[in-house]
């Protein structure tokens, strides 16, 4: 990284997470993680099952509170923020993509993509709808905008989920095995989609994956073993193809 590196989107300092705190079955899952993610960075998070990848992602996503250590977002310590502000911050600056695409079954693809804006503004508006349509077009699903998730294939649902994660132009995309239950070809497509948004919008991406092929196509590979950082490898600087 050179001197003019962009400021970190998130920064973790000695982050620890224990479950069942204060009970006989107390278990520490993360044992002090130091990590930072720069703007526009595309990082893969790998590691054996149970090593704490999902836990780390949930902490970064402000869905859970660390037991100890600091988590800074855009330089701000999140430990000081009340629940309501954490929720608002999460809505505005983080986009999630999950393995089992977690779309809202009662809402159409378009409504799912509009939902972050509806939540942030309290009500839908024309701008949110136009944005959502543009995003669906970008993931190649404009024709399916009014279908319910149940009427879409797994790959299509995951593309809707990516469009939804991008709806509010977040600074950070967190994806937990986004290609986990897709065939190789579809997985490649989804991965490429994330990559292209990362390059267009300069949002940082942290992708949990078990697929070494996909990890190899990231800028950086972070390996977690038993709740500790095992290795952190920087490949090439972000590619400037096309």
């Amino acid at each position: 990284m050179n001197a003019s590196a962009p400021p970190p989107v998130i920064e973790l300092r000695g982050l620890r997470k224990a479950y069942n705190l204060g009970t006989p079955v107390e278990t520490e899952v993360l044992h002090g993680i130091d990590l930072s993610l720069a703007e526009g960075e595309f990082a893969a998070l790998i590691g054996p099952s149970g090593s704490g990848k999902s836990t780390l992602l949930n902490l970064i996503g402000l869905l859970e509170q660390p037991t100890r250590g600091q988590l800074l977002m855009g330089g701000r310590d999140t430990a000081q923020l009340p629940e309501a502000e954490l929720t608002a911050l999460r809505g505005r600056s983080i986009g999630f993509v999950f393995q089992f695409h977690h779309l809202l079954p009662a809402f159409s693809a378009l409504e799912n993509v509009m939902m972050p804006a509806i939540i942030a503004r309290g009500v839908a508006d024309d701008e949110a709808e136009a944005d959502a349509l543009a995003l669906l077009e970008a993931v190649g699903l404009k024709a399916h905008a009014h279908k319910k998730p149940a009427a879409l294939s797994g790959g299509q649902q995951q593309r809707v989920a990516i469009a939804r994660a991008l709806a509010l132009r977040p600074r950070l995309i967190l994806a937990d095995e986004p290609t986990g239950n897709l065939d190789t070809h579809t997985a490649d497509e989804i991965f490429a989609l994330l990559r292209s948004f990362n390059q267009e919008q300069r949002c940082a991406c942290l992708i949990v994956t078990h697929d070494p092929r996909l990890a190899a196509r990231s800028d950086r590979v972070i390996r977690l073993v038993d709740g500790r950082l095992d290795s952190d490898t920087l490949f090439t600087p972000p590619l400037q193809e096309n």
């Binding site: 859970e64 629940e83 309501a84 929720t87 939804r164």
Partner: protein
């Protein structure tokens, strides 16, 4: 511009629409509950009003009479009280009744006052004679106490000179028709020849047989009450204020004052018991509806756990989730109250055509007072809202990670 729902309404309505069977069941339950309550309330209110109306149809609300002549307790020198037979009450006039009448008329809540001279007598025609109650009234004033004109079978309710108004039973007993003559005699030996100017049927055989209306002066002279009246009849605006007004007048005049609530204490107690049992039924039904709404929503919260987690991950606050479920409860209550009122209206139509009085007229009118519908809507919506409180709080407190991990 397109109409757009706010987040909480959008999600709440969509959740309700999505949970088809559940929503239908909970709506059916609420509708049924509201219908039962509205139907019962309307029916009982109507029947009670009818009963009271019927009872008061031939009664003054408040009656002022001379104070009872009481026995002075005879106490001898040794301090022993001697038991004396109760004193017979002779017919007396109210002292300065015109002053009392003005006072009564000026009392707030009193709408009409009618002086009356009444006493026992006999109606005689040929060989037949019947015991009667001679009622000396000012017809115009008395009409404001008892709506006699509604009960007239023939002739008019008007007394003048020697014209009298009698009941159908007496007319039948003595074979009298409009314009016929009858003699009325009283215990002191006086009598008078009267002409039948009107025949009424007040719906009560006893009264139809006994009441004979004549002019006030005629009754006064027959009953030996020169210029006097034996009682003052009052009508009040709010019939349930009768007791309070009677108490006021008793205090102000020292007269003996009766009111219909006192003379019909048993009826009132029965009505009150009916109201209590109606309230009991309503409370139980409301409770059951509330439990129904709450339990369906609790299940819905568990089913929607994943969606709630996703919404929270996208930045929906606890308050927003809380509102989503509160709205569901309120909507179920509101929709249920409208459907329930409609059902109650239908039930009233059906039952009023089935249940009829002896004369074939419907037992009650098939109408629904708007105030009951408004009440149902308010109560049902609040009950829905309150029932949703526990499930909604549960939803708001749900851990988003738990939902997303599974």
């Amino acid at each position: 511009m397109k109409f757009r729902l706010s987040f909480a309404w959008l999600v709440a309505l969509r959740f309700l629409r999505e949970g088809r069977m559940q929503t239908l069941l909970i709506l059916a339950g609420t509708t049924g509950g509201v219908a039962v309550i509205v139907f019962l309330t309307q029916l009982i209110t109507q029947l009670q009003a009818q009963i009271v109306d019927r009872v008061l149809g031939s009664q003054a609300h408040v009656i002022l009479r001379p104070p009872e002549e009481s026995n002075r307790r005879a106490v001898d020198e040794d301090g022993y009280a001697t038991l004396i037979e109760p004193r017979a009450q002779r017919l007396r006039s109210i002292d300065q009744w015109e002053t009392v009448m003005r006072l009564a008329a000026a009392t707030p809540g009193v709408t009409a006052v009618s002086p009356m001279a009444t006493g026992p007598g006999f109606a005689v025609r040929g060989q037949a004679n019947r015991a009667i109650a001679l009622m000396g009234v000012d017809a115009e004033r008395y009409r404001q106490i008892v709506r006699m004109e509604e009960y007239m079978q023939s002739g008019r309710f008007a007394v003048a000179g020697t014209h009298a108004v009698i009941g159908v039973e007496l007319a039948r007993d003595l074979g009298l028709r409009l314009g016929d003559k009858l003699r009325v005699a009283v215990a002191n030996g006086r009598d008078e020849l009267l002409q039948v100017g009107g025949i009424f049927d007040i719906g009560n055989k006893d009264l139809n047989r006994r009441w004979v209306f004549v002019t006030l002066p005629l009754a006064q002279s027959l009953l030996d009450l020169p210029g006097g009246v034996s009682n003052l009849d009052l009508t009040v605006a709010d019939i349930f204020e009768a007791r309070a007004i009677a108490d006021t007048l008793r205090g102000a005049t020292g007269l003996s004052v009766d009111n219909w609530m006192q003379t019909n204490a048993q009826l009132l107690a029965a009505l009150r018991n009916q109201t209590v049992s109606n309230n009991l039924i309503r409370s139980f039904v409301t409770l059951i509806v509330a439990l129904g709404i709450a339990s369906v929503l609790v299940v819905s919260v568990v089913q929607k756990q994943k969606e709630i987690g996703i919404l929270r991950a996208m930045g929906a606050s606890r308050g927003m989730i809380l509102r989503v479920f509160l709205i569901q409860g309120a909507v179920v209550g509101a929709v249920g109250s409208v459907a329930g009122s409609a059902l109650a209206f239908t039930l009233l139509q059906v039952f009023s055509s089935i249940y009829r009085n002896a004369d074939g007229s419907p037992l009650f009118a098939a109408e629904l007072e708007p105030r009951f519908m408004v009440m149902a809507a308010l109560v049902a919506t609040s009950v829905g809202l309150l029932s949703a409180l526990i499930p909604a709080r549960r939803a708001a407190r749900m851990d988003p990670v738990q939902a997303i991990r599974s």
